[in-house]
Symmetry: D2
Subunit: 406 residues, 4 copies
């Protein structure tokens, strides 16, 4: 798939079909039972992701612009609303796993019906059609849910003591060891971050604005599983001086001693739960599924710190990665925690109407992650992209890039 952010509107129908098909492909390996369960309040059933992404198009495009609009099923307006107060009632999030009806089959019919009507509507639209940006937003939104669908399914399957596999495919092992990381220096100064140009971006990436950076260094690659295993072996989870106070209390209250999907093996090594089921931990790969607290503690142990989001974006926009492998370490392997709390950029303005609830109202007690992960749809991420999660989130494909002052 190409980068959606650079598409002319005339190709949007083709993109619509591609993104919608990709979501269907993601659930192809899953049973109706797999799609219905919810492993924790923070996660949603795959069936709910399927319905909600369809609800977005039905609610924000069809209901407003389709001649003679009638809802596929009126109850879905409530069932598949995520958090839009302006749209009205919502089904309580922690109870999404109890919606055994509508069935997966009916939700797939809902998808097909809305696809069909969207295709008909879009056939008569062009770049100047006022609601076409809402279609783009809907596709970006669906891509976000594609990643969430994978994170949520991975968490659900991990709760099954049999650790069943989502897919038979196993990711090929990496080189035996990751290359030695290098510190890459940046002199900082008055730089700019934020979305530029005419392509798509979420409202939270704007406006582009100036930031002053002191000189800094970033590691040339992500922290590897081997390195994180050493942090554990050397007592990282038992030494309170490495942790933020709140992180230490969180760790202690749940008695955590390793990442969420790791399990110690009798031989002293580690197994890992993956989308391909139980596997020996690949030591050369970047460590994944780490919370902010774990990432921050690791950084302190390593004599370093997490980068700010401005440092990350500046480094990445300076053309740092010079090889495909390096590039993958920035975009495409792990979301990288920054020490920047999720906050509005100077001059940020919330969009009018219900879609204005998209981003701004979450700007408290969350931390920005940059880059993208193995679970991010191709073409979805951008240099200026701002992902965000609370400091406790462990089930995302999140890892660590180290920074330090010079």
């Amino acid at each position: 798939m190409n980068d959606l952010s650079r598409l002319p509107n005339s190709d949007l129908l083709e993109q619509f079909n591609a993104v919608r098909a990709h979501t269907r492909a993601l659930v192809a390996p899953l049973s109706a039972e797999d799609c219905a369960a919810q492993s924790m309040p923070d996660a949603s059933p795959a069936k709910w992701h399927l319905g909600h992404t369809t609800w977005f198009f039905e609610t924000f495009v069809l209901a407003a612009h389709e001649p003679g609009f009638a809802p596929f099923r009126p109850e879905f307006r409530v069932l598949f609303n995520s958090y839009y107060h302006a749209i009205g009632e919502r089904h309580p999030r922690p109870q999404r796993g109890l919606l055994t009806r509508p069935s997966l089959e009916e939700v797939m019919q809902y998808r097909a019906d809305v696809d069909h009507r969207m295709q008909a509507l879009m056939a008569h639209a062009d770049e100047a059609t006022p609601w076409m940006p809402l279609v783009t937003l809907g596709l970006q939104h669906e891509q976000q849910h594609q990643e969430l669908l994978l994170t949520d399914i991975k968490h659900l399957l991990s709760c099954n003591p049999m650790w069943p596999a989502y897919t038979d495919q196993v990711t090929p092992a990496q080189a035996a060891t990751a290359p030695v990381p290098a510190w890459q220096a940046f002199k900082g100064g008055l730089i700019e971050i934020g979305h530029q140009g005419t392509g798509f971006a979420f409202d939270n990436e704007s406006p582009c604005h100036k930031v002053y950076l002191a000189p800094f260094e970033l590691s040339s690659r992500l922290v590897s599983n081997a390195e994180y295993a050493r942090f554990i072996e050397e007592g990282g989870y038992e030494d309170s001086s490495l942790w933020l106070a709140e992180g230490w209390d969180w760790r202690a209250s749940q008695d955590l001693s390793h990442p969420i999907y790791w399990q110690p093996r009798p031989d002293g090594g580690w197994d890992e739960f993956t989308l391909s089921g139980r596997q020996a931990l690949d030591l050369a790969k970047p460590a994944l599924h780490l919370s902010y607290y774990e990432s921050d503690a690791y950084a302190r142990w390593a004599g370093a710190r997490l980068p700010t989001e401005a440092e990350w974006e500046h480094a990445m926009s300076s053309g740092v990665p010079s090889t495909k492998w390096e590039s993958d370490q920035w975009i495409g392997h792990a979301w990288q925690w920054t020490q920047s709390s999720y906050a509005p950029y100077p001059g940020f303005r919330i969009a009018e109407g219900a879609v204005g609830e998209y981003n701004g109202k979450f700007m408290v007690n969350q931390y920005v992650l940059r880059g993208s992960s193995v679970a991010t749809p191709a073409g979805h991420a951008r240099l200026s992209y701002r992902n965000f999660f609370p400091a406790t989130a462990r089930w995302q494909f999140s890892g660590i890039r180290l920074a330090r002052h010079t």
Copy 2:
């Protein structure tokens, strides 16, 4: 189906097939999704009931007595263990709804496989075979789970804001009003309760023992929906003096103002969630799905009290019901709360081995219910049968029979 408790062992195979078929029939109207979800920690998914009742035969009969026994799937020993510490590890009860694997289909294969092997084993057994009583126990156990499966599915479907139906069949309405209840007097004295004879009974029904009863009266029928509605309309849920202190705090903490499956209608009447979906409340029928706290408060409001289990059993064994309608009010409509806490009978002895965990270890902070309900399999209940639930339980088919001193 006939009364299992009166069966000669030689008919046990036929009964085995009938009980096992009945469980399958109960899930026939349900999708795989319906069978996988768990609406609260107290309830279990239908699929888990299907697996656990099968696990009972595999664990307690086949594993011990089948030549060359091999488990259908070793993981099931943990997944489908309910609370038998002696059998080893158990999957945590509140997470049964996350077991999307094994699939419903695989669990049905598990059932078929165990049925086939049980049939083979039983073909060579007779009344003298030492493990035949375990088969009877397993069938009684499965019948208990048949009722739980219905209570749990009803609760699950009620959590769906669309109130979907389990079945298209609607129970025919009763007569417009229930007959006026009469007080039936018993002179008491030194009587006996507990299981007598050679038929099957659970260990908690023994030994048969003497109890002294003061004279008492019982109502000739169950409290009706119309009567319970009047309790609500006259402020029963707002008057603390009617409630046990703990019941009042429970009511207040959840802001309860009516039974779990009732919903006020705009016209001032009540709708009720049933296995046939949303229905107008049938005022002539016995009130159902009441907690001990609600039942006790109602009785106090009515100037009466709940019976003891000895009073109930003595009245019933005195041949009280003289018509089919009256009889249904005792056995077959609603489990009837008694004020008797669930405790061992004098001389009660726990069975040896793992099945000894069946009843005794639950004898604290629960109250005995007598009779049986519309959801109880035909032939399962007995005069001496002791059902039990905590005082907060609202999702069972439980109702109220009034008593008073004379």
Copy 3:
């Protein structure tokens, strides 16, 4: 102090002064700070006990019968109401420890003022005065709070890591070992329990009624610390088969491995927190401060069971204890858990008015304890006395008498 229950009314004033003085004596060793703190929602500050027992006389006697009554301070009507809904608002129980005002000094003035007015009122009353029984009830009520005051202070001081002492006095050690217990046999039959005669008794002890008992045996003494220590050493807290299911979950959730006031010593023995501070555990004394769950598990481990309250009362009224030492094992050392849930006696009627809230509304999910303890005021207990607490209660002076069937 003599037995209140046998007093002629003409001596009531003298008794009033004695009981009220005893309460003051109990708090004499305590500072204002000690009296203000609340260690858990189940406990109350000593200052609150002082105020509440005074509030009882002010509310139920003075407010109704004193000419020209004016409250000492109107706010106290709410602050010192425990659970009487009929009296109106109550200060939330878990926040009693936040009432730093009124000061202890002001509460003592409140006591003195109410005492003075009660004395004046009682000077003109005699046995026929209708409210004199309320004075007796108030004194019995105050004696109950005298014991609670000690249990609550003991718990509070135990929460201080310095384990400070309530008193300098140390109870003299017992004989090196307790005498070997004997099983005392009772043939049972149709017996009577409940309050008889004209002395004072709480409503929950009536009516006197017939109960049928199968033959049984009771141990001649309470379980000793030495015996309970052996239960621990032999794995009693690690063996789920000894525990009620709910008790085991409770034990596990709090990771309990010994009684609440015991602490293992480095030498393998036990220290105990007492009202005299930290002491070596006196092995010959009865084990104290045990919950129902712990008592029940111990009994199962010992191949016995807990008695019913009817068995206990029948044995005691049969004149069993033949020596002072034996008698103390029944009345005066430890409240003894029975397996009887706290329920109304046949024909029990709640008193009219606010004092009707005294007992009946607590008759659910609690278990009856019989006897009395080292903390019970002299003369307060009776053969028919029914104390009651939830199965989790550990901070009361509660112990174990074993029973068994014959």
Copy 4:
């Protein structure tokens, strides 16, 4: 009291005596009972503040530098440790209110003893003595606890339904209305924030560093009670679109409809709980005791936003307040929430040793407040001072200054 941050070390002894005496003066109106209670886990008893501030000098100065040091009482090392893991065990914070021993009197003796020994030690020290900066840190630390002592006592007394007063003194009413606020414009650019010069500052105020600011405007005064009351009257607590999502859920879960110390009057106006007890709300005064969530919602309602901490510091250092009244609106009335999360400044380094736990480990999920309040000791605050609390904190003397982009 003068500004501590500008003191030559030679005056430190005088300052030591002044700060220590001021703490004693703060508790003078309180009883021992008042000083012992803890109203919530976030607050501490006054007695604990008295002990902990003394423990700081005993632990970090005397223990290390006093010849022949012996602790006043060894147990205090644990009891009065707040959060210093490096010092060892700590008494659990939520149980500080259970420490009825040591008594207030003993804690005052502890203070006097440590004061005496500190005075003796300081008599022989001068500016070059290596541990003198620890004395300064201890005094700054004690001043922080002086404010906390007042916030915690205010919260405790507010939990008493009688709303008792801390002091008889009543703050004189303000002018009938606050002056009309003006927007003061700043052109921004590359500016500097952070501590400069040689006076005392906490580690979190360093290093001084460059920040780029877009042009912005700040309100000339704090939001008044009258303005905040209008926000309530116009539905501010019922309109989810004004709130951060997490703030809205927090508000709803506690059913909040006004600031913590406000109470509606029957006449439609507001009363307020103050340190002088219940008072009519002074409409002209700045609104106080607001959480971040409430402040942020108010700002959105007012068409504005909260400032960043860099904007605040830059404006204040630009010499903005031109009158005493204006100045008080910046420093001395209310801590002002900023939208800046509490994070390390570029190049921040944690101090060596136990005092390194002072600030850095709290840098997550908290928001910076600037200025100071009516409860801040004179001379304690600075331009670069960074106070911080979680977004839910309501019991601090915190208010709102509005900002907007230009």
